[in-house]
Subunit: 293 residues, 2 copies
């Protein structure tokens, strides 16, 4: 096997009709495949508008099982195109128990595995704790023909523990399907700093772990009766030394193709040998919450 291959990042605008969204996704996956991508990643919850802007019981109807109808459609596509695909959807486990998940399909169209978002946010207009139970499968790295694929989702980006644990399982690339944006009323004052913080955290995971880091976000203004969010795009990939390789726009749909070279992982880790020096004999306190002030 060569150490080099291409990945594809699908930065999409997402509308109200799931059928149209999956058609748009498929069109862009075909394009990425034509351009040579062998592992392709979709944005978080790519089938639906970001419904977590409100707490509405009707939205539970959007959930489906894994495997289910979406994995069937996309599995056939993977087999046809001979690609690996990261598919982030709203998962129904059983009645009343739902997850924000990302399953991985291989080039035979088979399910390699599923990851359930471990860290669940709850902020004004990001009411995810209403919908999603925190993941019960732990941190995951999945073997594909080209490399080990680490799957994390959006809010996980802010937790160094998640990046580290996934890398310790062998991941060569950390993929973060994402749905992040600005509250329009905050954008002027805090927008630039928020975006820079988001980029900083991902860059830090690449550096600290000597690993590729990829975030794939949606774009566009999404409104409901009361609220709106402007998703900020900026889908981005860092190499294992923490350099930005490619970065998308904040407001355009894009299919980003990027060459991976697995040899860069070993180079980064030999020159910045952090894995060598971890104090695993002294990290027990990481399993606790802070003590009282």
């Amino acid at each position: 096997m060569s150490s080099k291959f291409k990945i594809g990042m699908i930065q999409m605008k997402i509308g109200s009709n799931p059928n149209k969204n999956i058609d748009n996704a498929i069109k862009k996956i075909r394009k990425a495949s034509t351009l040579g991508a062998k592992i392709i990643c979709l944005p978080e919850l790519f089938l639906y508008p970001y419904f977590c802007q409100e707490e509405n019981h009707k939205n539970f109807n959007l959930a489906e099982t894994i495997p289910g109808p979406t994995s069937k459609i996309l599995g056939e596509l993977c087999k046809e195109l001979k690609i690996n695909l990261l598919c982030p959807i709203f998962e129904k486990k059983v009645a009343g128990l739902y997850h924000n998940s990302c399953f991985v399909l291989n080039e035979e169209g088979k399910m390699v595995g599923n990851y359930r978002k471990m860290h669940i946010p709850d902020d004004p207009q990001f009411y995810e704790k209403f919908y999603f139970t925190p993941g019960d499968l732990g941190f995951k790295s999945f073997k594909t023909k080209y490399c080990n694929v680490g799957t994390l989702i959006c809010w996980d980006q802010w937790f160094p523990e998640a990046a580290r644990a996934t890398c310790l399982k062998g991941a060569d690339i950390l993929f973060y399907p994402t749905a992040i944006g600005w509250h329009p009323k905050e954008k002027k004052q805090y927008g630039k700093s928020q975006l820079q913080s988001w980029i900083t955290m991902q860059r830090s995971h690449a550096i600290a772990n000597g690993v590729y880091v990829v975030a794939v976000n949606r774009i566009g203004l999404e409104k409901n009766k009361k609220n709106k969010l402007e998703f900020w795009g900026n889908s981005i990939i860092f190499d294992p030394s923490g350099n930005i390789v490619k970065q998308a726009s904040s407001n355009k749909e894009e299919v980003i193709i990027c060459e991976i070279d697995l040899k860069k992982i070993e180079f980064a880790r030999q020159h910045w040998p952090f894995l060598r020096d971890r104090r695993i004999d002294h990290y027990k306190d990481l399993l606790k919450n802070p003590s009282n002030g």
Copy 2:
């Protein structure tokens, strides 16, 4: 107590004579105190040229006990000026066992505690594993009159575990006395990227933990018979939202004074509530090394 107070960061050039280095440090500490600083931090191993550029048994003679002669001199200074001081020196524990340490003195001149560098590097011209046993005291936060002071040292900067564990112990500010610089022959190709990576990691600790982060570095070209290193200064402080508050030059001695507002910690943590969502039930793998490739 007010939530506001000032800290001082002493960015120094360090020569071959420890007596002159301590005199230079004391002069700058007096200046920082005059400007209102109540907690002052010196650079890593501030008494000596960066002797780890070579493996030379003679250098063990530089080590001293804690408490010892340096803590006596600086303790009297702290009492006179009514300041708290972070003092990073080469510690002799017993014959044959040495640490890269940082002790903390309070405004009565008393020893609040000692931290022994937990992560020890070993790179060409940074032969620290030859001199220093990895710390045996764990991660530390020390109570002072103004706030809880987290003590970490240089290479610890690259480990998210160290920042997190120190914050979980209650630290309001993470101080990183530092000795980092460029290999002159690498500077042109990698210098900018290395400096940016160093800044990124510290910024990420501020964001991920909602805490002030302070790094205090030396400056200047230091040569021995075979080698040289150019210490890159850039002493820096981030607020708990990850914004740079002050950043020093790469090549000048500076006494940097900065106002801390502890209320910013609570603000940052309420708006980016990462501590709320940590999955302490699933972090056990952080206590392991990676499994085989």
